[in-house]
Each structure stands twice: as structure tokens, then as C-alpha cells.
Amino acid sequence: MSAPILELRDVQTHFPVESGLFFKRRTGTVKAVDGVSLTLAQGEVLGLVGESGCGKSTLARTIMGLLPATGGSVWLEGKNLTVEAATGEARRALQMVFQDPFASLNPRLSVGEALAEPLRVHRLRPASDIPARVAELAALVGIPARSLAKYPHEFSGGQRQRIAIARALALEPRVIVADEPVSALDVSIQAQILNLLAKLVRDLGLSLVFIAHDLSVVKHLSDRVAVMYLGRIVELGSACDVIERPQHPYTRALVSAVPRPDPEGERARRRIVLAGDPPSPLDPPGGCPFHPRCAHAVEACRSVVPSLAPCAGREVSCLRAGELPS
């Protein structure tokens, strides 16, 4: 395999927790992302799934440099982005699409201006070429050229998300990080955006880190899937393997909790209902972070922190991986 286009090496994003009004003391640490290593190949779609608070959005922001990594490093095309020298120029090939297209577009800029802004700032093209490039971008995502003078509030949610994607594409990125780009949309609109993302990956050779909590959406679009729990990756493998034949007990519970549009199957199905809520990342349990909710936990799970190891064609972070009933 060729060298990965994006590589994360043991990335950590920790937040200090302070108390006291005048004399702030550090009383703890939230380990939002705690030792994540991943690679992304050219043209690959990597799905990142997990429940709220598992650190998937924090990881996305850390990759983008919107949050500083407190440990480890992020490499884009062989360049380390986590050193201070890596500024705009190095990051240009890495762009982001956010969840809420109502909040991520500037309401005071017309769509044409919003698309032209990154081109102007980065001086990628002579000013005279900008209008042509803006029209090209709009065409790429299916926004009619006559709408370029309109403002974001005049568009529906799905169209706004297209504009946000066009803006991310303006600087000809090699990698796009999309944080729940379809979660706020209705199913029929969601299908349009999923088709658009698949087309862009295919036609432009983009690589995509795709974050979502809907497993069927992730499976549809992704080549590989990483499942996160409390800041760590617990399972990583091909999308079909992980979602159809999950190995980690958490992935199994997650997959079994997803309601499927199949009434007969739903009635016959045995669901693994997890007790309680995910533990607070402020005070994570010792040993395997999943052990308090795991039906298969043994004594060793309380003290030994598991790491990703090969199992059934993918990587699983579970001491008992391989010995669990299938």
C-alpha cells in the first residue's frame, strides 16, 4: 500500500479541569482523546462512530488544528501538522465540513462571497479567475450559478450543507474531515448529501474522515470504520466486518441498539441493552474503560488497559477478544 495521506500517531487531547475563583488550581484532566493512532489512504473513506462524549468531534478538531493536541502528532502527506511551523500553507490540503449548516456559514456573506473568500485569502489564483472558480465550485455541488448572489438564509438545510462542502473544496484539499454532515438533515436530503460526498470522493480522489452516529449511514459510505469509546478506538476494520460482524462487546451493543427498518427482524431480534450512561471522561474507570457496562468483563478487565490487537481480520481493543461467543 502507498504511504498514508493522513496519519495520527498516538494523538491525545486533554483538557485541564480547574477550580477556584481567583487562584485556579488544576483539579483534574478530561482525556477527551487518549492515544488514537489511525491512517487514511488516498481516496479512502474512514468512518468514525461513537456516542456523544466519546471524543469523535474533539478528534476531528484536533486533526484540523482547531484544538491543540496535548500529545502525539498528526501527519499530512509526510508533514507534521502538530509543530508550530505548520501553518496555513501546510494545512490547506485539509478542510472541514461541520454538522450544522445553519451555524457554519456567515449570514452576512452571499454564497458567492463565501466561496471566493478562501481563494482570495490564500491567493491561489489571480483575482480575475476567482468568479470562474466560484461558478465551477457551485456546479460541482449542484448549486445553480444564479443563486450565488443569495444569502445563506435563503437556502434550505440541504442546500446550505452543499455550500459548506463547496467552501471546503475551494482550496483543492486532499483530505476532508466531515463532522456529522448529515445528522441535521431529513432522510431524503440526507441521501442527496451522501450521494454528493460519494461522488466527490470518486471523481476528485479525495480522502474523507466521516463522523456520524448513524451506523447505517457510516457503513454505506465508508471503506473502514473506527469505533470510539471514552477517547479511545475500541475497534477498527473494514466497514462491513465491523458493522455486520462486530467483535468488541461495545460495538456489539451499539450495533444491536440500532433500530432497523425491518418489522419482522425487529420483533425476532435480541437486543443487548446496556445499563446506565457512558461514564464521565473526567473520572474514567480503571482498566478497560468499558468494563463497568460489559457483560463479558472478568477480573483482569478492571486493572489491565487493553490495546488494539488483530482479531478476526480487524483490530480490537479487548482482553477477551477472540474468546467471546460469536
Binding site: E51, S52, S156, D186, V187, S188, Q190, A191, Q192, L194, N195, A198, H213, L215, S216, V217, K219, H220, L221, A239, C240, A253, L254, S256, A257, V258, P259, R260, P261, D262, P263, E264, E266, R267, R271, V273, L274, G276, D277
Partner: protein
């Protein structure tokens, strides 16, 4: 006699921008113990239908223009305030979508839980608190005795939604209206809440109207489903037929656009255009503009009516009714 019989319900919003016909002639019945799903996209009128039943819409701008909704003989749309108060929270419980904004942040959970009991039943505060505690345990809140007197901000989103469910169920209602009760929650918490609603439904024998845009959730929970589009019911059927043999082009389009029902990686079906502007009169079928089967005749005349195509299965598409699709 059905527990609830809604006939030709019409609700519009009178605003400066015009009159928006949010619900336009909705009729359905609900038997005791039955679970009815209400699905459709944002703006299709699902929530307004249910809020109209309990008369929870602010008026102005909302106005219920016509129809009736008989709940065990009482027409909810014409009931006096006193009659309504006797029904709301006692015989009909409601769970709202957003647990973050539906609880009063100033009051302890215990106060909010026992409020319906103190109002509707001759019960001492002490007995009410005992019932509240039992209800919190029933909805799966750990350490309920300590949590009973906590404030809403001390609870996570999933726990607040469980508190909302406890509040809706504490007076043992005959009908529960749940408006997207799990949309804001993670799937593992959603699974807990759905199991809980099913269990309580078995125990209390209550009927449920379940609003959702997630066909997966509906498939596991509901007996019968109404599909709404632009304020009207376009298909009404048992849950099995909805997935095995959908008839209305809109229902079919929805199913072809869901990744879970398609092979991995195939191009998903997409609906062109947008739902119609409800402030303008829509001649003919409201879905015609986006329908791949629409003919000129579909865009004219009166809106198509629901007609039965099999026992318990009705839809409002003239071409499908004529056997042309």
C-alpha cells in the same frame, strides 16, 4: 368504540406571511392498547397534529379550523378548559422531543414528578413522593432515592428524557403521545427508552401515538403507521405492509433513500425539489411536483383521497389506486 377518533382535523397558522395550512384534513382512529406511528419529514405536520389534539398550540397564530377529535366520547377540539385540564396529564400523557428544555430548571425533579398526581388525584404528598420514586425506578434511573430531589441540570440528556417519560406516565394515562422522544439521544440510550415504553405499554395497556422520522424506530415499536406529507396523510397501513409493500410514491421514495435498506455504496434515490409552500393553495396532489410518476392530471383538481387498497391499507395516490404504478 376506538379510544381516539380524529376526523378531518385542519390546523393553520395565521401569520403576516400568509396562512399556512400545517394540517389539512387528517383523520385516523386509535384503539386501546394500540401503537400508532406518525412519520414524515420536518414540516409535514406530525407534531402539529398531536399538539392540536391537546390544544397546546398558541393561538394566535395557530387556529384549529375544523374537524373533531373524540377521545372516549369527549371532543378535545371543543372541550372547555376545565374538561381539558382533567384529561391532560391524567388520561393523556405527552413526551416532548427536547428533554433539555421541557423540564423546569428551577424545580426539583420530585416537585415536577408529583405535580400531576397532586392535581389529578386525592393523594397525600407523601404517597405521591412514594409513587414518584417507584416511577423513577421503573424508568431505570439508578439510585432513584437520592436522585429524586435533584435538579434537572444534575441529570444527563438520557436521564432527563427518562424523567420526562416518568412524568408522562405517573398518572397511568390511557394514551401516550410521544413526539420524537428519542431523536436527541444516542442509540444505546434510545434502545433503553424504547424497551421501557414497550414494557410500560404492556403493563398499563395504554395506547401510544409515536411521532418519528426514523423508519427503523417505527418498525420495531408500532402496529400501524401513518405517513404524512405536506399536512396530509398519504399512506396508512400496518407496519409490515409499510416495509414489504409500500404503495404511495412518497413512501417508496423514502425507503429508497435510506442507506439501511440499500446495498452498500449504491447511489441512493433522491427526491428532487422541496416540500411545497403550505401558504399557497396546492391543486391536486401535494407530492406531484416531486413525484416520478406524476401526470398532468395529478396536478389538478381536488387533492386525492385516501382509499383502501387492501384490508387496513390505504393510500392517497390516484395512479396507484388505478393500478398504473
Amino acid at each position: 368504540m376506538p379510544l381516539l377518533e380524529v376526523s378531518d382535523l385542519c390546523t393553520s397558522f395565521h401569520t403576516r406571511g400568509g396562512v399556512f395550512r400545517a394540517v389539512d384534513g387528517v383523520s385516523f382512529t386509535l384503539a386501546r392498547g394500540e401503537t400508532l406511528g406518525l412519520v414524515g419529514e420536518s414540516g409535514s405536520g406530525k407534531s402539529v397534529t398531536c399538539a392540536s389534539l391537546l390544544r397546546l398550540l398558541p393561538s394566535p397564530p395557530a387556529r384549529i379550523e375544523g374537524g373533531y377529535a373524540r377521545f372516549d366520547g369527549l371532543d378535545l377540539l371543543r372541550a372547555t378548559d376545565a374538561e381539558l385540564r382533567a384529561v391532560r396529564g391524567k388520561r393523556i400523557g405527552m413526551i416532548f422531543q427536547d428533554p433539555m428544555t421541557s423540564l423546569n430548571p428551577y424545580l426539583r425533579i420530585s416537585e415536577q414528578l408529583i405535580e400531576p398526581l397532586l392535581i389529578h388525584e386525592k393523594i397525600s404528598r407523601r404517597d405521591a413522593l412514594a409513587r414518584a420514586l417507584a416511577m423513577l425506578e421503573a424508568v431505570g434511573i439508578n439510585d432513584a432515592a437520592r436522585r429524586l430531589h435533584a435538579y434537572p441540570h444534575e441529570f444527563s440528556g438520557g436521564m432527563r428524557q427518562r424523567v420526562m417519560i416518568a412524568m408522562a406516565l405517573i398518572a397511568r394515562p390511557e394514551l401516550l403521545i410521544a413526539d420524537e422522544p428519542t431523536t436527541a439521544l444516542d442509540v444505546t440510550v434510545q434502545a433503553q427508552i424504547l424497551e421501557l415504553i414497550k414494557k410500560l405499554q404492556r403493563e398499563l395497556g395504554m395506547a401510544v401515538i409515536f411521532i418519528s422520522h426514523d423508519l427503523g424506530v417505527v418498525s420495531g415499536l408500532c402496529d400501524r403507521v401513518l405517513v404524512m406529507y405536506a399536512g396530509r396523510i398519504v399512506e396508512s397501513t400496518g407496519v409490515d405492509a409499510l416495509f414489504r409493500a409500500p404503495r404511495h410514491p412518497y413512501t417508496r421514495a423514502l425507503q429508497r433513500s435510506i442507506p439501511a435498506l440499500q446495498a452498500k455504496g449504491v447511489e441512493l434515490y433522491t427526491l428532487a425539489g422541496l416540500p411545497p409552500d403550505l401558504s399557497k393553495a396546492i391543486p391536486g396532489c401535494a407530492f406531484a411536483e416531486r413525484c416520478e410518476f406524476a401526470l398532468e392530471a395529478c396536478r389538478a383538481g381536488a387533492p386525492p383521497l385516501l382509499a383502501e387498497c387492501a384490508p387496513g391499507h390505504a393510500h392517497a395516490c390516484r395512479r396507484a389506486q388505478a393500478g398504473e404504478i
